[in-house]
C-alpha cells in the first residue's frame, strides 16, 4: 500500500511556516509552552490573554523564533473581546489556521459550598469561551479550506475531583464539544482535537499547591514519570495537532500526563 502522506518529507509534516495560530491564555504556563512549539515550527503567533503583565516578556521570548508575534489583551469571558481578537488577527496576518482554546480558570470549593457565581464563571471561561472562539474563527477556516482547533481539557475531563466540580464539569464538557466540532466541521477539512494535560507546574497549579501543601508529593507519588509536567511538555502535542501530521486525527483526546490517569 502506498499512502499519500508517505511521499512527504517528515520535516514538512510538522512544518507550520506561513500558518497563523491564536493561543488564548498564551502569556504563561501551558499556553506559552504550546506557543513556543508552534512558533518554533514556523507559525506566526497571536497570544490573547487577559493578563497584560506577562504580555511583553512572552512576546519577546516568542519572537526569538524569528516569526511575528502579536500580543492582544483579550478577556474570553466577553464575546465582544473575542470578536476583537479575531478581527485584530485578520487585520495583522490576514488568516487564521490554528486556534488553541487554552485560557482557563479554576475556582475550587466543596460542591455543597460552591456559589452559583463561581460555578458559572468557570463554565463561562473554560467551556463557553471555546465555543464562541471556535464559532468566530470558523468562517475564515472554512473559506481557506482547512483549519485546526485544539481545545485544552484536563485529566479532570474524565476523572473526578471533589473540590473542583465546576472545573471538572467544564473540562468534561469541552471534551464532548471537541467531538461535536470534529464531526460537524470534518467536511470543511477542519480537525478538532483535545489535549488533556495532567499535573503541570504552572501558576494555576502553584496556587493549588499553596492551598493544599500536600498536593506536590501526592502527585509525585502517583505519576509514573515521577515528575510534574513542564509547560514545554505540551509543545510536541500542539505542533502535532496543528500540523499536516494529524490530518486524519479528528475528535481525539490526547492525554499528556506522564501516565497519571492510567496509574491503577
Amino acid at each position: 500500500m502506498h499512502g499519500g502522506g508517505g511521499h512527504l518529507l517528515t520535516s514538512n509534516l510538522f512544518d507550520l511556516t506561513g500558518r497563523v495560530a491564536i493561543v488564548t491564555g498564551g502569556n504563561t504556563g501551558i499556553g506559552l509552552g504550546m506557543a513556543h512549539g508552534l512558533a518554533n515550527a514556523g507559525a506566526a503567533l497571536v497570544i490573547a490573554d487577559r493578563n497584560r503583565d506577562n504580555a511583553a516578556s512572552a512576546k519577546a521570548e516568542l519572537e526569538t523564533s524569528g516569526h511575528p508575534v502579536l500580543a492582544l489583551t483579550t478577556d474570553v469571558a466577553d464575546p465582544n473581546s473575542i470578536a476583537q481578537m479575531v478581527s485584530a488577527t485578520l487585520n495583522a496576518f490576514g488568516r487564521i489556521d490554528i486556534l488553541v482554546n487554552n485560557a482557563g480558570i479554576s475556582i475550587s470549593a466543596p460542591i455543597e459550598d460552591m456559589t452559583l457565581a463561581d460555578w458559572q464563571k468557570v463554565i463561562d471561561v473554560n467551556m463557553t469561551a471555546p465555543f464562541i472562539c471556535a464559532q468566530a474563527v470558523y468562517p475564515t477556516m472554512k473559506a481557506a479550506g482547512r483549519g485546526k482547533i485544539i481545545n485544552i481539557a484536563s485529566v479532570l475531563a474524565t476523572l473526578g475531583a471533589g473540590g473542583a466540580a465546576n472545573y471538572a464539569s467544564s473540562k468534561g464538557g469541552i471534551l464532548q464539544f471537541t467531538r461535536a466540532l470534529a464531526t460537524a466541521w470534518a467536511a470543511d477539512n477542519i480537525q478538532s482535537n483535545a489535549i488533556l494535560p495532567g499535573w503541570i507546574d504552572t501558576d494555576l497549579t502553584k496556587r493549588a499547591k499553596d492551598i493544599r501543601p500536600e498536593l506536590h508529593d501526592r502527585i509525585l507519588g502517583r505519576v509514573p514519570a515521577q515528575r510534574w509536567g513542564r509547560p514545554d511538555d505540551l509543545a510536541g502535542a500542539a505542533v502535532f495537532l496543528a500540523s499536516g501530521a494529524s490530518d486524519f486525527v479528528n475528535g481525539a483526546a490526547l492525554t499528556v500526563d506522564g501516565g497519571f490517569s492510567i496509574q491503577g
Binding site: M1, H2, G3, G4, G5, G6, H7, L8, L9, T10, S11, L13, F14, G37, N40, A41, G42, S65, R179, A182, T183, A186, A187, G198, V223, P224, A225, Q226, G229, R230, D233, A235, G236, A237, V239, F240, S243, G244, A245, S246, D247, F248, V249, N250, G251, A252, L254, T255, V256, D257, G258, G259, S261, I262, Q263, G264
Partner: protein, 256 residues
Amino acid sequence: MTAGLFDLSGKVAIVTGGNGGIGLGMARGLAQAGAAIAVVGRNQTKSKDAVAELTESGARAVAIAADVTDKTAVDGMIARVLKELGRIDILINNAGINIRKPPHEIALDEWDSVIKTNLTSAFVCSQAAHPAMKVAGGGKIINIGSMLSIFGASFAPAYAASKGGIVQFTRSCAVAWAPHNIQCNAVLPGWIDTELTQNARREIDGLHDKVLARTPAGRWGASGDFAGIAVFLSSRASDFVTGTAIPVDGGFSVQG
C-alpha cells in the same frame, strides 16, 4: 528547535509487520525523520521490497524474518537488530491478523492464533526489547490497537479481544517502565485502506460505503496517515505522553 523535537537521527526502530499497510506507512515516516529501520515480517519478498524502498529514500534499513509469536525467534530478531544496527530506541508492535467469524463459530485454535499474533506478540517483543531500552536510558513503544479496542463487531470476537487487551497491556508497560524513561502508547487506527481491509471489503457486503458514511473525514484512511503519529510518539515531542490510546480514524470513533 522544533525540528529537533521530532528528529529521529541516530535512532533505531523495529516495526513488526513493517512490510505493508499501516506498518510500512509508519516505517516511512520514521525513516524520513532519520531513524534506521528493522522491518520484521513473515513474508520475505515483501520485506525485501520495503527495505529496498526505505534504503532508496536514504534510510538505513534491514529485513528480518521472524515469527513474532515465537519467543526464541524474537530473541534472535532482537539480537540481530542490536548486532546490525547497534541499538533499539523504538519498537512498533504492529503485526496483526484477523479471522472473521462470529463468536459462536470461531474455533479455539483460530481464537488462539489471533490472540497470539495480535496480543502475545506485543508482550514477547516488548519484553525482549526492554533490556536494551533500559540500558540506553529510555525508549518508545507503540502498540497498534484498533477501533475494535473500543467497539464490538459481530465478525471479530478474537480480534476485538486482542485489541482491547493490547490497550491494557500498553497501560501496564507505561506504568511499569516509566521509571526507565520508556514511554508506551497505543494507536487506534480507524478503517484504513490496506490488504487486511481489502479482504474485509470483499467479504462484508456494503462495508466500503458504510465506513465512508460514518467517517466524518469522508474517506478511508491511507497508510501515509500514520507517518505523523508514529514520528510524534517515537520522538522526544511525546516524552510526557505515556499510556495513551490515540485514534487515527478521521473521526469515526466520535461520530454519534
